[in-house]
Amino acid sequence: MAYSEKVIDHYQNPKNVGTLDKSKANVGTGLVGAPECGDVMRLQIEVDEATGVIKDAKFKTFGCGSAIASSSLATEWLKGKSVDEAIAIDNMTIVEELNLPPVKIHCSVLAEDAIKAAVNDYRKKNGLPELKFEESVIH
């Protein structure tokens, strides 16, 4: 199975690889997946407390090229979005942007889950109730 050019580009030149300071109140961290499943994604957001806008996003991913590309793309999309806009990112838009084949859809689901987990971590740190999300269908 050949990868799309966009997946290859994200894999070769991943955007926003790195680690944000977990101890800061305005940093939310989402860690999803499991080593046994062959995918682990850690996605972090740093929120501008005055505006509620995500000013930085970083990721680290253990997984296949599509998982790396999905998380790299997610961090790009997150920057500049409000927290509410962030949770509206749907995995299928990632699938479309990266031309992921059906067997790789779970990579995009993982990215969506990572965003939601990071947002909830941020909310928790700031005394906001955690949002309930519907269970993702494809895993």
């Binding site: 997946g33 850690r42 997984g63 296949c64």
Partner: protein
């Protein structure tokens, strides 16, 4: 000069040796006869070519030419050997012993036999990938008719103690079948010295063409019979009907002859390259060799690079280097390699494995390039891996509550 892509997946298939292709060509056009046509020169010529190839194949494995049944490949040989014995020896018993890292062609054949009323014991291999002889002997019952154990494993390259296994089979009057696809042509295999009763192998793993293989069926001490699985014109002494693939068989014969003549030299050269690759890659921190270090085919190595995922790793160089991975991501099932899991590897290590299969045309330059590419990609992906970061920070990954899929 390096030509890309570099092929290091010789356990999957091998290129045809140009000498093999050259030997085959006349049998597509001028000498196109049906080897079963007894009444004209076209048939005689084809039959003569098949007979000659049968001798070449038999010689490589120390068999009598009459003991070689040509098939379409090893999957057919596995089916014919195992199902054929199960049906032929039904009055003697219905129990078969195999192991849990056999090729799917053996495992699925055994599953089929279970549905047909057979009983199958799947031995667990040891952590080094080898069959435990004591467990094997203990599994034998009065109803046991066949032991089906592979000569060498396709994923990790481990070589089973086949002579010890055949001694146990003989002691208990049980037949021994072996899938020797990965071994024949690579290491010395001798059906008599090794005590093998039935053996499946194939041309395309030894620089011959795809679509042709053989089942060795012993004729003396004991005389073994199999029930045909394909009915028809009664070719191959009634054991395998179907017009013979004459060009393929000619190529198979030539491939066997070349392996026979060049095995010693080739093994020396290829195993030195494999050792270099293996040693250099095992210098990478947190990399692990899968399967026994010593009882191993000369051209194979299988290594796990902890904290990076196999498919992601391959993507770093698979435009230029062809290898395969035990990672789940390469299949639709999302389950990592059952062979690696059978060695007791955790799923995380199974996901992180690469198999390198070197071959006749592999060069040192290719190996040097591969070492560099794999090392760089492992390092690059670890920089991106949250697990590597946790490992470096001393976080116990078992303490984390992972969200399992």
């Amino acid at each position: 000069m390096l030509n890309f892509p570099i092929y290091l997946d010789h356990n999957a298939t091998t290129p045809c040796d140009p000498r093999v292709v050259e030997a085959m060509i006349p049998y597509f056009t001028n000498s196109f006869g049906n080897a079963a046509s007894r009444n004209h020169p076209f048939g005689w010529q084809a039959e003569e070519a098949v007979d000659y190839a049968r001798e070449q194949v038999a010689r490589l494995v120390g068999a009598d030419p009459k003991e070689i049944i040509f098939t379409s490949g090893a999957t057919e040989g596995d089916n014919l050997g195992i199902k054929g014995v199960f049906e032929m020896y039904a009055s003697k018993g219905n129990h078969i012993i195999t192991c849990n890292i056999e090729h799917k062609a053996v495992l699925d054949t055994c599953k089929h036999i279970e549905k047909e009323g057979g009983e199958v014991t799947y031995l667990k291999v040891k952590d080094n990938g080898l069959v435990d002889l004591a467990e094997l002997e203990a599994a034998i019952k009065p109803t046991t008719i066949l032991i089906a154990i592979m000569y060498a494993n396709n994923e990790i390259g481990t070589i089973n103690p086949i002579r010890e296994i055949s001694a146990i089979a003989k002691k208990h009057g049980v037949l021994l079948f072996t899938d020797a696809v990965q071994a024949v042509g690579k290491i010395p295999v001798d059906v008599n010295k090794d005590g093998i009763d039935l053996m499946a192998f194939t041309a395309h793993k030894m620089y011959g063409p795809k679509g042709v293989g053989a089942l060795y069926v012993r004729r003396k001490n004991p005389r073994v019979k199999v029930t045909a699985q394909i009915d028809g014109g009664g070719h191959e002494r009634g054991m395998r009907s179907g017009t013979l693939n004459v060009p393929g068989i000619v190529g198979f014969g030539k491939a066997c002859e070349i392996c026979m003549n060049e095995m010693e030299e080739e093994t020396k050269r290829v195993s030195a390259l494999r050792d270099k690759l293996q040693n250099e890659l095992l210098k990478i921190e947190e990399s692990y060799l899968n399967g026994d270090k010593d009882h191993k085919l000369p051209h194979v190595t299988n290594i796990s690079f902890k904290y990076v995922e196999g498919e992601g790793l391959m993507m770093g160089f698979n435009k230029n280097i062809a290898v395969s991975s035990g990672s789940a991501c390469t299949s639709a099932s999302l389950e990592p390699s059952y062979v690696l899991k059978a060695l007791g590897l955790g799923d995380d290590l199974a996901h992180s494995s690469l198999r390198f299969g070197l071959g006749r045309f592999t060069t040192e330059e290719q190996i040097d390039y591969t070492i560099e590419q794999v090392t760089n990609t492992v390092n690059k992906l670890r920089e991106m891996s949250p697990l590597w970061e946790m490992y470096k920070e001393g976080i116990d990954m078992n303490s984390i509550e992972w969200a399992h899929h």
